[in-house]
Amino acid sequence: MLVPITWMEEYVPGGVGKEDVAERMTLSGSNVEGVKTYGDGSVTGVVLGRLDDVWPHPDSDHLLLCKAEVGADEAVQIVTGAANVKKGDYVPVAMHGAVLPGGLKIKKGKLRGEVSDGMLCSAQELGFSDKVVPLACKDGIWILPEEARQTAMLGKDIFEVLGLVNVQVIEFEITPNRPDCLSVHGLAAEYAAVYDLPLDLVGMGAKDDTPSSTRPQAAENHIKVSIAKPEHCSRYIARIAEDIVIKESPWWLQKKLMLSGMRPINNIVDITNYVMLELGNPIHAFDIRQLAGGEINVDTAKAGEKFTTLDGVDRTLYEDTLLIKDGERGVAIAGVMGGLNSEITDDTKTILIEAASFSKDSVRRTSKKLGIRTEASSRFEKGVPADLPKMAADRVCQLIELTGAGTAVAGMADCYPVPQERMEIMVRASRVNAVLGTSLSADEIAGVLARLGIGTEICEGGALKASPPLTRIDLLEEIDIIEEVARIYGYDRLGTTIHADEAEASMSKSWELRSILRDTLAGLGLSEIQTYSFVSPSGIALIGADRDADKAAFVKLINPLGEENSVMRTTLLPSLVEALARNYNHMAKDCRIFEVGNTFKNHINEEGLPTEALSLCAGGYGDAAGFYFFKGCIEHMFKKFGLGEPVFEPISDNDTFHPGRCALVKDAAGALYGVVGELHPDVLSRFDIPERICCFELDYDMLAKNADTHRVYAPLPKYPAILRDIALIADNETPVGKLLEIIKQRGGKILEHAELFDVYRGKQVPEGKKSLAFGLTFRDKDKTLTDEDAAKAMAKILKGLADEAGAALRDV
């Protein structure tokens, strides 16, 4: 909402020229988003000029030559490219040496052989935006309005001539609960409250008692108004003005509209817009010649009814579209847009002025269904109190007479089925203080509320009966009034304390372990990523998992931004691989990443919501990101979470992974946690990655649920260990896991530890075989082992390896 400060000040006579207005308004809830100053002195040397002659440039078919009278100085010759100037026009002239916005300097010069001693200016060049410049001047020079057409003013600074010196306009951010502040009047009321000054609606008195000489018949006898749908229209007022002469509005009115962000059109449209800005009540004017039967009825349309709005668009209405009808047909879509059939035209003589209060819901629904958003509809959507239309209709009539646009007919047709009454809200001083942490008395509270025009009556027991102005449709209950007290008393004057309690922070095991997990994985060299929860349904096909029913059980969005964000993810893997691909394309030479986040399954729970489960996904490419790196990460995590040693079970039927480089991840009890592997070459080619990628995805919820991070001390050994290394020759296909199992089983109680420390294929090892070196640690916790004890165990182990796996000691 753009408001010139001076306009706001008109209603607060004591408040002119407050320096801190932007800050004080912000701190009371009318947030100032910016202040724009017109005529701030940055544009200089532009004066009022009159074009005493205009003729075509002899050497151009689109340039014009003008002789501009600029007062005391000699008339100047100026070349212009604008087509909208003619002899006799008053225009802004930038003289030699003038400075325009952006520091542009105007200099004498020649254009195609003709002297140009300055420049004619557009309204935009004086600081106005395209959307407020009168249409006739939008694409050319600003042809100045009547008030500026004065010989005596020629040569004077244009900002002085137009009354635009240092004019400040505030842009307010108005919250949706304050439709009253979508008006100068509403903001002036805030301004008055902030500075504790009286609000004065001077000059807005109605003129409906003025007898009309030309039409003795009062308006209510001339037009009949009825409301067939009172639930959608709480009040409808019609007034009549005659002897209308459609012309340009006076400059003071145009100026206020332009400063407030609206384009001047003609006097009648401008006055209706002016009153909308001033009071917040959208106004519509009909050409009364076009209204059949001298009547107005507010009713809904028939489904499928055709109607042409004044923008010339043919619309099809719905059965709930609220329509203003005359005796025969629809003439306006209530609160949204008027009809072409009853529009004001240049020869309109008598108008009907509509000031009404349509319901929020109706206007909102209609505006949405028909796809029309107007200044009027956006205000009605937020609520226009039923008290406003009378003041608004009177104000329109007053301005019509004041500006010589026509004559108002006395009286009005006012259909107001249930007159609005002031609310009475009980407010306990104790409650005010309990919420705000203050110790205000009922009198003090009443004093604060009075500044907002909220009447109060102090009752027994420190309570108040508060009655807000009818324009404050947002004030309905005690807490609303408490907020008003806080705002005007000042948030900055409230205390700054900390509530005393004995609460102790806690968190879920899942949350706590996620934090440990992230640190653990980062320590292992993986970086965390965050990808969107909504993904493309085609992602699972890219990873070859489109036949996996679980992964295809998507939770779908009704209104996604696009196909690529249209379903909730069932796996983190496609997004992770995509992130790897992106980094690969950015020339990252190696990359290891992980994500822990929600996946969604289309299994509806008792709340009616899809199931959400946390998943942990990691992957990477490059030197240190092979299968065994990620396997090692899993082993480390299992250790960290006290889950025992994971079991890796080779599988070759998962289309996402390389059939020879993939394993299911289980715990010792056989519970499945997920899968680890190298991506299948087909998957890699779909992502266009020429590198091998390894990754895993695990069920995080299960990891967290089964985790046991409690540690019990194991006594340090008292007796020495005996270390033995063995080198074996085994078939290539014999899994190391199987050999270790045999070693552990045959080694018995005294085998404390066994590990693989070397794998070798090549020279000195027969084709189809591999050489494996294991380090074994033997120890007895109760006595010192002898070499014989170890030798016995070794013999058993070797026999087992030979019998069960055909693995033999390697001859060295």
């Binding site: 919250t175 919420v435 209950e477 965390e528 965050q530 969107y532 009704i558």
Partner: protein, 341 residues
């Protein structure tokens, strides 16, 4: 036969000129070995008359001690020099780069969320989480949002069905908590939120919030101010000031937006890109829990009051670390992620 003096003079000269430990050892053998000159001298004492033997013995023993001392001193000098040489040969280039196994980094969102959560946890707030797919009831109805509130539109909110949606804020966790716990309630809730914004430098259809809720007897707006002022100081620096501006949220009343003094320009530099000369940066929204919301939890609104607040994690991370494009958070470029150790 040489006199002890002659032997000593000769030994001294030889020891001085010896320049390796081996040469010194050779001299030790030559003089003090079984067949060494000093040893021989000592052995020769047997042939002397008893009266001569005493004084000769003293001389010979002194000679032995002196030669030993000479050798030992030289050996020490040579050892020291030898270590010096070895150390000199072992010099390394300390300007070569250090070598570690490169650790990974947590995501900026996690880092910021943990920092915010940490501050409130130290104040006794527990962490609670809620689902990303929510009911319309929890996301809007229970939070006092008017039936025609524009944020309910399909143009603002992602819907799954007519009754379920992607939560537009973390506030539904307030509802869940109020319905499942008795006061005192003191929780924060970090998590993902969604709105139908097309991604650009300042908008993202997915973002993160941290929500806070305190409901107890005697909670006032002054407590809200004190708590958030403390938060701002912990998060942005002890010298920071805060200001509370009245605002509107359906689920709190009175409501406020909180600004922190501009930590980028430090005051109100007219050219400041962040505060645009105002000296203030908006960081969060808050307010006293609306009685209608407390009623959803079945609470006696005369007995209990509470406050709630919510902040955008991306916004705070962007402000604090000078990040100028919100899309960076979700592009997952390792060159971005890796900057935040």
């Amino acid at each position: 036969m040489k006199t002890p003096e002659e032997i000593f003079a000769e030994a001294k000269a030889l020891v001085e000129s010896a320049d390796t430990p081996a040469a010194v050892e050779e001299l030790r053998i030559r003089y003090l070995g079984k067949k060494g000159e000093v040893t021989a001298l000592l052995k020769s004492m047997g042939g002397l008359a008893p009266e001569e033997r005493k004084s000769f013995g003293m001389q010979a023993n002194k000679l032995k001690q002196d030669v030993e001392a000479l050798l030992e001193a030289k050996q020490g000098v040579l050892a020291e020099a030898g270590q010096g040489l070895r150390l000199a040969a072992e010099r390394i280039d300390v300007t070569e780069p250090g070598r570690i196994y490169e650790p990974g980094t947590k995501h900026m969102i996690t880092i910021t969320m943990d920092e915010i959560s940490g501050i409130f946890m130290r104040l006794g707030y527990s962490i609670t989480e809620g689902p990303e797919v929510e009911t319309v009831f929890n996301n809007f109805d229970a939070l006092n949002a008017a039936p025609d509130h524009p944020s309910r539109d399909m143009s603002d909110t992602f819907y799954i069905t007519e009754d379920t949606l992607l939560r537009t804020h973390t506030s539904p966790v307030q509802v869940r908590t109020l319905m499942s716990q008795e006061p005192p309630i003191k929780v924060i809730s970090p998590g993902r939120c969604f709105r139908t914004d097309t991604p650009d430098a300042t908008h993202s259809p997915m973002f993160h919030q941290v929500e806070g809720l305190l409901v107890d007897e005697g909670v006032t707006m002054a407590d809200l101010k004190g708590t958030l002022d403390l938060f701002a100081k912990r998060m942005f620096g002890e010298e920071m000031r805060t200001r509370f501006r009245p605002h509107f949220f359906p689920f709190t009343e009175p409501s406020a937006e909180v600004d922190v003094s501009c930590f980028v320009c430090g005051g109100s530099a007219p050219s400041c890109r962040v505060c645009r000369g105002s000296g203030w940066i908006e960081i969060l929204g808050c307010g006293m829990v609306h009685p209608n919301v407390l009623k959803v939890g079945g609470l006696d609104t005369d007995r209990y009051t509470g406050f709630a607040f919510g902040m955008g994690v991306e916004r705070i991370a962007m402000l604090k670390h000078g990040i100028d494009d919100i899309r960076l958070f979700y592009e997952n470029d390792i060159r971005f992620i890796g900057q935040f150790y």
